[in-house]
């Protein structure tokens, strides 16, 4: 089962996701600028930003420990790994059997824990603030995410993402009410976990309103570049998880070179729509107060649970 073509697909997918993630971010920023009636920056702006950051000298605090210096690499590595697990272009990748969706959630949690530790490492006030807020959001969003994934797992009978995608893409088109609930819940969790409006404003400069940004305030140069890149990959990975769970048509099988162009085209179209939708949501919604975020996330959890119960009630 593990042949060279499958390995080539795996490597191709990993490299593709890492390289294409800033493009998705740039596209979402462009759409947001158009919606706000201003001329948009170049779609390649995130790449220029990353290149600029990589060239700078890193400045770190005197009391930074090893955790602070290791975290950007760990976070980037976790996101890269997640990009390798999620079936973006192809299913049946060789690495997939080692990890299922619960392990995927665990990988994201590992990145979050390391970010929080690094934020508290320097000992400044805003680092601690960002760390505890991020752990709060994560602690509330994880159960919702797991409920959504369990709904999909119950429908397809497995927690392996490959199997879920294959089952859902090969059934005849039918509307599963449980998946409808799960999709709305997934959208809410996606906004929360990726630090987008309405939970967190990624472009804010006001430290007291920051959640994710407050954790990376002390980072500069290549460390900051890696973390920003990891954030872009995380958004890409979440969107592709959503695509794999809810609209999986067009994904190729590993080793099937002929289906690859269709897979690319389908992915590009879905992500373009996803990025535009994200920009629309960010324009329409405003950032919630921090202690209204638990209500947002418990709504997501409730919808996830409703999806699971609907599955048991209707077997659909």
């Amino acid at each position: 089962m593990v042949n060279t073509a499958a390995i080539a697909f795996q490597i191709l997918q990993s490299v593709f996701v890492v390289l294409a993630a800033p493009l998705l971010l740039g596209w979402a920023n462009q759409c947001r600028a158009w919606l706000q009636n201003r001329s948009a920056p170049s779609i390649l702006l995130p790449y220029y930003t990353l290149a600029k950051l990589f060239h700078k000298d890193a400045v770190i605090a005197r009391n930074a420990s090893a955790v602070f210096r290791v975290t950007p690499y760990v976070v980037f590595g976790c996101m890269w790994l997640a990009a390798g697990i999620v079936p973006v272009l192809a299913t049946d990748l060789p690495f997939a059997p080692a990890a299922d969706i619960i392990a995927l959630v665990g990988v994201f949690a590992l990145a979050r824990v390391f970010s929080a530790l690094a934020a508290m490492d320097i000992g400044t006030a805003f680092g601690g603030l960002g760390a505890r807020r991020e752990m709060l959001i994560g602690f509330l969003a994880e159960p919702a995410m797991l409920m959504i994934l369990f709904t999909a797992a119950f429908i397809s009978g497995s927690t392996q993402l490959n199997t879920i995608v294959e089952t859902l893409s090969h059934r005849e088109f039918a509307i599963y009410p449980s998946l409808a609930f799960a999709a709305i819940a997934f959208l809410m969790v996606l906004l929360a976990e990726n630090a987008r409006i309405p939970i967190d404003n990624p472009t804010t400069h006001l430290e007291l309103t920051m959640i994710h940004e407050a954790m990376i305030l002390e980072y500069s140069a290549r460390h900051l570049a890696l973390i920003e890149w990891a954030v872009a990959i995380k958004l890409f990975a979440y969107m592709t998880i959503g695509i794999a769970l809810f609209v999986p048509w067009g994904i190729a099988e590993a080793g099937n070179w002929g289906a690859l162009p269709l897979a690319f085209a389908a992915l590009a179209a879905k992500l373009a729509l996803g990025g535009a939708g994200l920009a629309l949501l960010e324009t329409l919604l405003a950032k919630l107060r921090l202690f209204l975020a638990p209500e947002f996330l418990s709504t997501a959890f409730l919808l996830g649970v409703l999806g699971m119960l609907t599955h048991f009630l209707t077997r659909g």
């Binding site: 990589f54 400045v59 590595g77 080692a98 400044t124 006030a125 497995s158 392996q160 890696l226």
Partner: protein
Amino acid sequence: MGESAGVRDPTFRLSCLGPVGLRSPDGAKLPFRTRKQTALLLFLARRPGVSVPKAQLLDLLWSDDDEASARHSLSQSVSLMNKSLGSEAIAPAGTDQLALRPGVVWLDVTAFEEHVKGGRPREARHAAPDAAGDHGHDAGMMERFGMAWLAAGCFVLGLFPTSFLLMLNRVAVSLTGQGLREGAVQSNWLWLVPVESERASYSPIVFLIVIVCVTLLTFILVRRFYHGRLRYSEAWGCGYSELTARTQDTADAFGQPIRHIFGPLYLMKRHMPAADDPAPRFSLKIYDRHWYWLYLPVARLTEYASAKIALLQQGRISIYLLYSFLTLIALLVFLR
């Protein structure tokens, strides 16, 4: 502002945060004759011991008058002040200069600034003998070991879950008669198979190895394509890098958002000190509501019932013999 640090000098107290007023060492209010006198004293008290040129004072306060009458007014104000403060409080210092002798007048603004900069606690009993305040130190080895072995236990549990799961499986089988499926029981130390190996599998050790490899790969690639230059500097901290013992982030603070959200489930009694409290105290007590809702009523009911039943225990042997006699009769009557 209340008494600070329990130190009361035998000096005059000039307050300008709030209504301006001067008090003598025994607390009597000393009124100012004119506003220019007030301004003069405030200006000099702000810089005790510093020689101020008379020309500067004349420019500030008597700029409308000519030189002679201005100087006359200045020397009159100075002599009036010296009558209240004690002789030679404001004395000539250098050519055509004046200075307020240090230690004569206590100014509240100066004390406030010292508190803010030095970070001294308001309560005297918390004041450190030395002003440096360097009393925090890292946790010792045994403290860290206490936390480290728990963390290491979690880590080992995550890496080798199959043995624990199989142990728990025996419990499940004995309680419910149902256990894990055949395929799951076949899991070995490397691969965890929840149901069947075709449906899902998970290998924590492979996962960990891959994470470490990918992290190293990232590091190597960054160093290969770019550079590893590093510079050390002060922590940025958004400009708020002066941290004192009062601004520390504790574990209690880390859990504050979660405590706030789950507050209604617990009975929290919190006492926050007001800003003008002379003896500020913070206390937080968390109680379990179920203790009061479920446990205590049941306990009280049990106590009440047992108190009623205890009436049977009269302590006299004749009563107990009577109980035995009555029981015998009841058994004979009802159980023919």
